[in-house]
Amino acid sequence: MDAFTIALILLWAVVLALGIVVIALGRQIGILFERVAPMGALMTDAGPKIGEASPKFALQALGSGKPVSIGASSGRSLLIFFLSPTCPVCKKLLPVLKSAQKAEKGSFDIVLASDGDAPKHEAFVASHKLDSFPYVLSSDLGMAYRVSRLPYGVMLDGEGTVRAKGLINNREQLESLFNAKEMGVASIQGFLDQVKEA
């Protein structure tokens, strides 16, 4: 091997390594952004907008088969919480949801929504004791709200109007959905927009 060959081999190795390092750094910056502001879902703000009527769904709850209607004007607010048995953040938020269900009984109902095969979800409901929630399986529902990342929450008011929605990564973001209606602010982003206008 002459010096050129060795130099070439070394340079290729360095270029490849640097490529990987750049991706890793970029990814880390991306993760920082996601931590700082709950973005992902709001970056791609498709589906029904805040203030628009929700698409209407008549679904059946898993297990009990009870009818669950979404988007109808029932007079009661409804939080649709999109989750999946394979999503760790969803599991972390389940206790918050349970306490919210007890505390907010007077003001809104909570529906858990997912899609896929029923047996997996039945096992999930059993292992996490979620029988107190209506649990619906519908890929159309997730599609209607363009849910691309989990957990995702949608808050509907008594008339079936979308009041708030967004990706939920922690308790604060979940509570911001609860408060959205009372405060008249759709999301943390909406709040930031108001601050800007003020």
Partner: protein, 181 residues
């Protein structure tokens, strides 16, 4: 146009990688792809499902065509065509001011930006290179090694720039929502 065969092979290799990933993203959640495709509002609703399927089949055909030397040039023309259509579809929506729809690029969701148009333009240049006729020369082991390493390097660059674009979208969003210039 006569080009060194190695250049053509590298261009083909990168295009194959790009299209394989595109197919993978589309098929891994086809219903979501259809919904995102519908969001582009290019086609009437009734045509969305069949055209979405045609796009996936076309991309698969292009990958197959690029792999087989005899069909390489036809496939390269197909790739140019598709990349141009995607670029136009993205540009139309950017001009409409619809930045917030998901680009359907896969992953965790990325809005539209001119970066995507530039990326498509660069891929179109690669498509033109892949279209060229090769000069006659034997392919050595060194060629094969350089081919592999080049495709990997370009691939890493594509991933890194996409990540940078996604980060920049975050930054712009935060800046806009806080009203700082």
């Amino acid at each position: 146009m006569l080009l060194d065969p190695l250049v053509i092979l590298i261009a083909c290799g990168v295009l194959i990688a790009v299209f394989v990933r595109a197919i993978w993203h589309k098929l891994s959640d086809f219903p979501v792809f259809k919904a995102l495709f519908a969001d582009y509002e290019i086609l009437p609703q009734s045509l969305v499902a069949p055209v979405a399927l045609i796009l996936v089949v076309a991309e698969a055909a292009i990958v197959m065509g690029l792999v087989i030397p005899a069909t390489r040039q036809v496939a390269a023309i197909g790739a140019l065509f598709l990349l141009a259509i995607y670029g136009i579809a993205i540009s139309v929506n950017l001009l409409r001011g619809r930045y917030a729809i998901d680009c359907g690029c896969g992953g965790s969701g990325q809005g539209l930006s001119w970066f995507l148009v530039v990326r498509n333009a660069i891929l179109i240049v690669l498509g033109v290179l892949a279209l060229a006729s090769p000069m006659m020369r034997a392919i050595s082991l060194a060629d094969a090694i350089v081919l592999g390493l080049s495709v990997i390097t370009v691939w890493l660059l594509i991933l890194a720039t996409e990540q940078a674009a996604a980060n920049d979208a975050h930054r712009q969003y935060i800046r806009n929502s806080r009203g700082k210039g």
